[in-house]
């Protein structure tokens, strides 16, 4: 499978994602410069973390004007897979590909630490290899992961199974004290209605190898692969 990894000015997790796709998954990965106008050749598009445009104004605010975003929107509308991690998630929100917005962490500080998240929906292309309710130990690293959405949209998200990950305790209880940034209903990751676009604040690529303190995130990538292969088989 071919993974396209989008690089905006200021993106800085592209090499980490590429390493997992190539070395751990054994798949092809290519960087896509943000000025490119087509993403047709790729099975899955990943918007990695970092600080696109320095994170100035609002995280993800300026990247949405890059030419590649039109191509990504096209790809997504046709059901193509798009995964946004951290800054990538913020870009998807700003671009309107996912509902809601991020505000500054309630601590007002950048937070880099391990968190626990619970798989709330294992029927997405990104979680199909996880078991229902599985708890992952996974790092976050962001200054604005405090997810907000209005009540109407929140209801839709909840009812549509679009909330894929929530911050929780090591044993899976979703409680405010395990929420590292103040996000609404402990939300850590959501999909669009169709389920082909996922945005998540935690970094699965940072926990995809034993040596990096665990492999909890690896199945995000393996799920993608599995899902793509299954779909091809159909």
């Amino acid at each position: 499978m071919k993974f396209g990894i989008v690089v905006f000015p200021g993106t800085n997790c592209e090499a980490d994602v590429r390493y997992v796709v190539e070395e751990i998954l054994g798949q092809e990965a290519y960087y896509l410069w943000h000025k490119e106008k087509s993403v047709k050749r790729y099975d899955c598009i990943i918007l990695p973390g970092g600080a696109s445009y320095g994170g100035y104004l609002r995280e993800g605010a300026m990247a949405k004007f890059s030419p590649i975003m039109e191509a990504i929107t096209d790809h997504a509308l046709k059901g193509g897979l798009v995964l946004g991690i951290s800054d990538g998630f913020q870009i998807l929100l700003e671009a309107g590909l996912l509902p809601g917005a991020m505000v500054k962490n309630d601590s007002l500080q950048f937070r880099c630490q391990d968190t626990y998240i619970r798989v709330e929906n294992e029927k997405t292309p990104y979680t199909c290899l996880y078991s229902p309710g599985e708890v992952l130990k996974i790092p976050i690293a962001h200054a604005a992961g405090n997810y907000y959405v209005d009540e109407k949209n929140l209801k839709e998200l909840e009812e549509g199974g679009q909330i894929v990950f929530r911050y929780c305790s090591p044993s899976g209880e979703v409680l405010p004290q395990y929420n590292p940034n103040g996000s609404l209903n402990n939300i850590a990751g959501i999909t669009n209605g169709e389920g082909n676009i996922l945005g998540m604040m935690p970094h699965p690529e940072r926990c995809s190898e034993e040596i990096m303190s665990g492999v909890a995130g690896r199945k995000v990538f393996e799920s993608i692969l599995y899902w793509l292969k299954e779909r091809c088989a159909l």
């Binding site: 000015p9 600080a51 445009y53 100035y56 950048f110 880099c112 970094h203 990096m212």
Partner: protein, 735 residues
């Protein structure tokens, strides 16, 4: 020229005379400014140069030693690491956020100049106490500045160290270290080789930032500096990120002859240094320099310290290619001049010549001084201080908790969770252990890195203190399973014009050199920061060491946390009746005095070799060195990190209880081995002639320490209680 002018610029009379002699005429205002900044202590090292010669700088892994923008050492597999530390003390005292942030930016560019990709950063901080709002403001500002810059750049900040002490109140220290990785073939140099080659200025535009920052760094801080001061220099990590990628791309493409960051002294520094290193000259036209502000004078342009700029000397004919790459990264790259053969740095403004100075005169011809030295009088008293006359507290549990919650010992999580310490997915051992470990992708190897300093030791015994700082850094690496390979240092001192301070300076360097020699860790780069004084006097003499070690096999990576129930705990080395200069005296008695613990470099080396061999043989499962707070604190930290208790039995011998528990005897490491490997461990220790004792066993949910001859447990605390004291302390003061 009015005599006040050169004085105001910080030059001495003999220097002014020499300048006239070199030029064969009176310098004009711009020329004088260029001399003043290049001949400031910060750029010329005129007061420190001779003492620095004492450092051992050679070793079989050294590819590039002091003199370049950063040092570089071989780490096998055709790869090398480049690293250096730099201070940003004075700017951080005035605007901690911007000051610390630009400090990070500056050291990153030094690494970048070597053709290396930055892969890790560390920092060393010294602040006054956190019990007042000014102290909190400075500390919080510096930490968030470092976080902002590093996080945005995407270089992980993996470690560092912090001490809080009143003597840094008026003059905090912010030292930043950066480590970069490169293939041997990609090594770049800061040289303007090749007559006729173009000289390009790339990156951010030039504004009126920090005119005369280098001179500022070479003066004592007064309360006046807080108000006006020079324009505060601001950084932009986003532009730095673009600059970084563009420079690496240009270097990889093979277009480069030389590359140099613009730091202190701006264009003046970068042009004269690159020309002088190559033994050539340079002609530039300041009309070509892209400016951020209107109406800038030649003087301002030549001395501006605007950040995120580099000087690039490409091969002739490659200007267009360079420009194209920078354009891709939304950056400007303009030719501002070319390399000449006459050795002169010629600054033109269109057709008008504004300055004409031999490049070498700026970089090499500043007079070098041997300041007066004198042993400080206080040492007599502090050395003979007798702690055995002090009352011994009843409750050692309380003492241990007090030590663990002192912000200098307590968990630094409040700091490092604000730093992205994982980006790059190499950080195998995260901040919080003795040293951070980064794996080298594509190989079996890893590197370990640490920063260490101890101003109090160096104040009370500069020579031993200097040696201890180096030894402790090496020991920290060894505990991570790494063989120390080289070091960088930042020497933070008061005014060298005071004989007592210069004496300390030289003694510290002697001590550091002896240790570096004995432990096989040459000094490959460094920085000197003098004039760290405020209304309240000079800071403690504070040398900071940044050290890097190599781990040949990632299976040998260790951290400090106790591992499994039943593991045996050994103490490598022996506790001596030493308590002077300890954190115990500071915390319990409010005393910063006494005799610094002795350091025997042969013993130190033997302990380190033993530890490395035990790790290599797969015997040692965890290792933690004893430093601030002594044995009890070290064991408590290993319990907390491993989230498991321990039962310890100690033999008192001729020691007082505080010496046994909290004394800071050097060359000691606490290691654990499997319960059935005790004999193997003993056999190994004989080979190295190191005194070793079995002091206890891992297990349970408490730390219990018994001492022979004393009934009951002198320490019995639950891990959660220890952890609460240790983890919450700084957070509690800051939130």
């Amino acid at each position: 020229m009015k005599s006040e002018t050169w004085k105001e610029m910080g030059l001495r009379e003999n220097e002014y005379e020499l300048i006239k002699e070199i030029l064969g005429r009176e310098p004009n205002y711009l020329e004088l400014g260029m001399f003043a900044v290049m001949w400031s202590e910060h750029c010329s090292y005129k007061n420190s140069k001779n003492a620095l010669k004492l450092f051992p700088t050679k070793g079989k892994r050294v590819i590039c030693g002091p003199g370049e923008n950063a040092g570089a050492v071989d780490i096998g597999n055709g790869k090398a690491v480049a690293f250096k530390v730099e201070s940003h003390n004075h700017p951080s005292a005035i605007d901690p956020f911007r000051g610390a942030a630009t400090g990070v930016g500056g050291i990153v560019r030094d690494i970048l100049c070597m053709g290396a990709r930055p892969i890790a950063m560390l920092n060393s901080l010294r602040f006054g106490s956190l019990d007042n709002s000014r102290g909190k403001y400075l500390f919080n500002g510096a930490v968030s500045g470092i976080a902002w810059y590093g996080n945005c750049l995407g270089v992980p900040t993996v470690g560092g160290e912090v001490y809080f002490n009143k003597n840094y109140e008026g003059n905090p220290l912010v030292n930043a270290m950066c480590i970069g990785i490169l293939n041997h073939d990609d090594l770049a140099r800061g040289r303007a080789e090749g007559v006729g080659n173009p000289v390009m200025l790339v990156g951010a535009r030039t504004g009126r930032d920090g005119i005369h920052g280098a001179t500022f760094a070479s003066e004592e801080l007064s309360s006046e500096s807080e108000g006006e001061g020079p324009t505060v220099v601001g950084g932009d990590p986003f532009v730095e990120k673009l600059l970084l990628e563009a420079c690496l791309e240009v270097n990889r493409a093979g277009y480069l002859v030389g590359m140099q960051d613009l730091g202190a002294a701006g264009i003046t520094g970068a042009t004269s240094e690159t020309a002088s290193r190559a033994g050539l000259g340079m002609e530039i036209d300041i009309k070509k320099v892209p400016l951020r502000e209107e109406g800038m004078t030649p003087y301002e342009i030549m001395l501006s310290e605007s950040q995120e700029r580099m000087l690039i000397i490409p091969k002739k004919g490659k200007e267009g290619e360079v420009e194209r790459i920078f354009k891709k990264w939304d950056l400007e790259a303009v030719v501002i001049g070319y390399v000449t053969d006459d050795g002169i740095l010629r600054v033109k403004n269109g057709d008008k010549v504004e300055a004409e100075i031999p490049a070498r005169a700026l970089t090499e011809m500043c007079p070098v001084y041997n300041p007066e030295k004198k042993e400080p009088a206080y040492l007599k008293e502090t050395r003979s201080f007798d702690w055995r006359k002090l009352p011994v507290p009843e409750n050692m549990n309380k003492v241990l908790l007090e030590l663990l919650s002192h912000p200098s010992i307590a968990s630094k999580e409040w700091i490092y969770r604000q730093y992205d310490h994982m980006v790059g997915t190499n950080t195998v051992v995260r901040p919080g252990s003795d040293a951070a470990v980064l794996r080298i992708k594509g190989t079996k190897t890893a590197i370990a890195a640490t920063m260490d300093g101890n101003g109090k030791y160096c104040y009370l015994d500069p020579r031993t203190g200097g040696a201890i700082v180096v030894a402790e850094a090496a020991r920290n690496l060894v505990c991570a399973g790494a063989r120390p390979i080289a070091l960088t240092d930042c020497l933070n001192f008061g005014s060298p014009e005071k004989p007592e301070i210069y004496w300390q300076f030289e003694q510290v360097i002697r001590g550091m050199s002896e240790a570096a020699e004995a432990l096989g860790t040459p000094v490959i780069s460094g920085n000197v920061s003098l004039y760290n004084e405020s209304d309240k006097g000079a800071i403690y003499p504070t040398p900071i060491v940044g050290m890097v070690g190599l781990i040949e096999d990632t299976n040998h990576i260790r951290s400090q946390g106790f591992q499994n129930d039943g593991d045996l705990i050994f103490l490598l080395g022996r506790t001596e009746p030493e308590l002077g200069a300890s954190m115990y005296l500071e915390v319990v008695h409010g005393l910063e005095t006494g005799k610094v613990p002795a350091l025997d470099l042969k013993k130190e080396k033997a302990v380190q070799e033993l530890c490395l061999e035990g790790i290599g043989a797969g015997l040692i499962k965890s290792a933690h060195d004893c430093s601030d707070g002594g044995l009890a604190v070290a064991i408590a930290e290993s319990c907390i990190s491993g989230n498991i208790g321990a039962e310890i039995n100690l033999v008192k011998g001729n020691l007082e209880l505080p010496e046994l528990l909290f004394g800071e005897t050097q060359s000691r490491i606490i290691v654990t081995v499997d319960r059935n490997k005790g004999e193997e461990m003993r056999a190994l220790t004989e080979k190295f002639g190191v005194p070793v004792s079995l002091i206890g066993q891992v297990g349970g949910e408490e730390l219990k320490i018994k001492v022979n001859g004393i009934s009951g447990e002198v320490i019995n605390l639950s891990i959660s209680k220890l952890e609460e004291a240790w983890r919450g302390a700084i957070k509690c003061m800051m939130d």
